[in-house]
């Protein structure tokens, strides 16, 4: 372990130059990732982005084509799943249908020939934490979806592991149960302080649960950051568009110099960039995309300052608490979120102002934030 750098970085799981291909299809490409001890990391992406594949590699259920995986500073790349110190919770719960809840929980321990009283102790502890004691004698078919997933979590819990892996654990549940269990998983993490790696395509789950989110696309991590940074300072256009609902407004245009300032110009209309937090100096003439979230466009009474434009209401979508306006301006239609109580007629004129401190500018070519 002398030459092992990660031994000093408190890393729980380290992935080094990991690649995996099925035949000619590259699913993961040269992927590096360090997950801290006790961290809750969410792998977020749409289906086929490689997030589940990565999780399966960490679990040892798939062999990488290249690269290495370290868990607790031990190279586990070629180890059996059971020797890696991991527990895994699956989307379909994957409970053994012919076994009772108790047998399901203890199966791994029985396979490992753990003494009977130790098994009982651990099952009792896990079922206590998850409050599933009354279910112990039941078969999985007699449980509700939420109860099944709780048992599945318990199965990982009894094995006393360092790292929990969750593979879309809430996707098979209805919306109400999903939010309930989401809170429970968060509570569990706070109580156990284990490292947890959680795969999902649901951005709400990612934003609410994660210490850090890794957004993946085509086998590559696009951005790895805490949820607030991901939301407010997306690294590229893909991340910006993936996170947030309704989606961010994108206006294509270019940078121009006007009166000593750099402004954003689209279809002949200029927008001041005052307040924008750029990585470097912005030069005129560059083709760019301006991204603004619906809640960062202020309308009429909400305007606190900055440059004011005039727009026309195209469509109104009342959604209860919020009201979504689609406004036409400068040749674009953009969505704006306002309070649910404020209503507008279609065709009405409104004033709007962009909150440039929360906006993002992307290079039109590379689509990277500038």
């Amino acid at each position: 372990m002398l030459n092992n750098v990660s031994a000093r970085t408190q890393s729980s799981v380290s992935i080094r130059e990991l690649s995996l291909s099925f035949g000619s299809v590259k699913v993961l490409e040269n992927l590096n990732l360090d997950i801290h001890d006790g961290e809750f990391l969410v792998l977020l992406g749409s289906s086929g982005c490689g997030k589940s594949t990565l999780l399966n590699c960490i679990a040892g259920l798939l062999e990488p084509t290249e690269g290495q995986i370290f868990i607790k500073d031990r190279n586990v790349t070629w180890e059996e799943p059971k020797d890696r110190g991991i527990g895994m919770v699956f989307q379909s719960y994957a409970l053994y249908p012919q076994m009772t809840v108790e047998k399901n929980l203890s199966f791994g321990l029985r396979v490992a020939k753990v003494p009977k009283d130790e098994i009982d102790r651990r099952v009792a502890r896990a079922s206590g934490i998850l409050q599933i004691e009354p279910l112990l004698k039941r078969k999985p078919s007699e449980l509700s979806g939420g109860q099944r997933q709780r048992v599945a979590i318990g199965r990982a819990l009894v094995r006393d592991v360092d790292v929990f892996l969750f593979d879309e654990p809430l996707s098979n549940l209805d919306a109400k149960l999903r939010s309930e269990l989401r809170v429970e998983i968060k509570r569990l993490h706070q109580a156990l302080k284990n490292t947890m790696i959680y795969v999902t395509h649901d951005q709400i789950e990612a934003l609410t649960l994660a210490d850090r989110i890794a957004i993946m696309k085509s086998g590559v991590i696009q951005q790895l950051d805490d949820p607030v940074t991901i939301y407010n300072r997306p690294k590229n256009r893909f991340v910006a568009g993936f996170i947030g609902s309704p989606s961010m407004n994108f206006l294509t245009g270019e940078l121009a110099e006007e009166g000593g300032h750099t402004v954003f110009k689209t279809n002949g209309v200029s927008f001041s960039l005052d307040g924008y937090d750029a990585y470097g100096p912005l030069k005129g003439g560059r083709k760019v995309i301006l991204g603004v979230r619906p809640e960062h466009i202020k309308v009429d009474g909400d305007i606190a300052g900055g440059e004011v434009h005039e727009a026309i209401v195209d469509i109104e979508e009342p959604m209860g608490a919020d009201n979504l306006l689609w406004l036409k301006h400068a040749g674009h239609v953009m969505s704006v979120r306002i309070g649910g109580a404020r209503r507008y007629a279609v065709g009405a004129k409104v004033r709007l102002a962009f909150d440039m401190s929360m906006a993002s500018l992307f290079d039109a070519g590379t689509e990277e934030r500038i």
Partner: protein, 300 residues
């Protein structure tokens, strides 16, 4: 970051070792029996083996002799006639029965049980029953004659010209139930909405079947075709039981020819050559199908 130790990939031979050990019977069967046995037979078909297999090659002699043998020609003709009619009738009857069964009828299970039970019976039993029913002295012919039509003649098993149709009747009785089941499964696999759309568009039912449903069932038809066809090439037990190849050699088939030459005539070379021809016939059926079915598809 680059300084990690790199334990080598473990020996690939020992990965999944249990699985490999468990698969030994399958591997042996596939390679030794199926591949090896087939190659063995093909190789020995070029020898002049008589009572015992001997490796003295005579080129294509056995094949020339085979195609000069009237009995083989009769076998091939029988197989062709039987094959054509068997394909046409089992597909037609099977599909018609399946379409009838698909009309949301009552007693569907009863009907299916009746149509399918012959398939559970062996070809021997099938052959013997139909031998009895087609018996000219006591069977259908005599019953119809006793009804007053005294000149009625239907004695396929004793008439060299039509004996193969007698076998066909029995084969259809035994096998159409299976075709019906496959077709019914195919029909049930078709989206209900297709029917609704056709009804809304006012397309008559027979047209829907002919122009929409049947083209959609192409894969089912192809699979069924392959199953029937490879069964046809194998036909043996039924002929043995129903006619023993008679009258004379009138109902002989290739499989019986092979068996007789291998185990009675003690002319192994002929048997091997004939069985290689059977293999060729199957290959002609299977290879295009396998190519269409599996060729384009890639595993992920």
């Amino acid at each position: 970051m680059a300084a990690h130790t790199q334990p080598g990939r473990p020996n690939q031979l020992f990965r999944n070792l249990n699985s490999k050990i468990a698969s030994i019977p399958m591997m042996l069967t596939a390679v030794v029996i199926f591949l090896g046995g087939t190659i063995w037979t093909v190789v020995y078909s070029f020898t002049n083996s008589k009572l015992l297999p001997r490796l003295s090659f005579v080129g294509l002699d056995q094949y020339e002799r085979l195609w000069d043998t009237p009995r083989w020609i009769v076998s091939i003709q029988n197989l062709a006639t039987y094959g054509c009619f068997s394909l046409i009738f089992s597909l037609t009857i099977g599909f018609l029965l399946a379409a009838l069964m698909d009309q949301k009828i009552r007693f569907e299970n009863t009907f299916r049980t009746i149509f399918l039970y012959p398939f559970a019976l062996s070809f021997i039993v099938t052959g013997l029953v139909w031998q009895w029913i087609l018996n000219p002295e006591f069977g259908v012919q005599s019953v119809i004659r006793s009804l007053g039509w005294t000149s009625f003649t239907f004695d396929p098993l004793y008439n060299s010209d039509i004996v193969i149709y007698g076998i066909l009747i029995a084969a259809l009785w035994q096998g159409t139930g299976l075709v019906m089941c496959l077709m019914l499964a195919g029909l049930r696999g078709i989206d209900e909405d297709i029917w609704k759309a056709a009804r809304v568009d006012g397309i008559p039912m027979w047209k829907t079947y002919l122009f929409i449903i049947i083209p959609m069932m192409r894969p089912v038809f192809v699979t069924t075709l392959v199953i029937i066809a490879s069964g046809i090439v194998r036909i043996y037990d039924l002929v043995v039981a129903q006619t023993s190849g008679g009258p004379g050699i009138a109902s002989d088939v290739p499989a019986k020819y092979v068996y007789d030459y291998m185990f009675f005539a003690q002319n192994l070379g002929q048997g091997f050559a004939a069985s290689t021809m059977m293999l060729l016939a199957v290959a002609i059926i299977i290879v295009p199908w396998a190519y269409l079915e599996f060729g384009g598809r890639k595993r992920g």
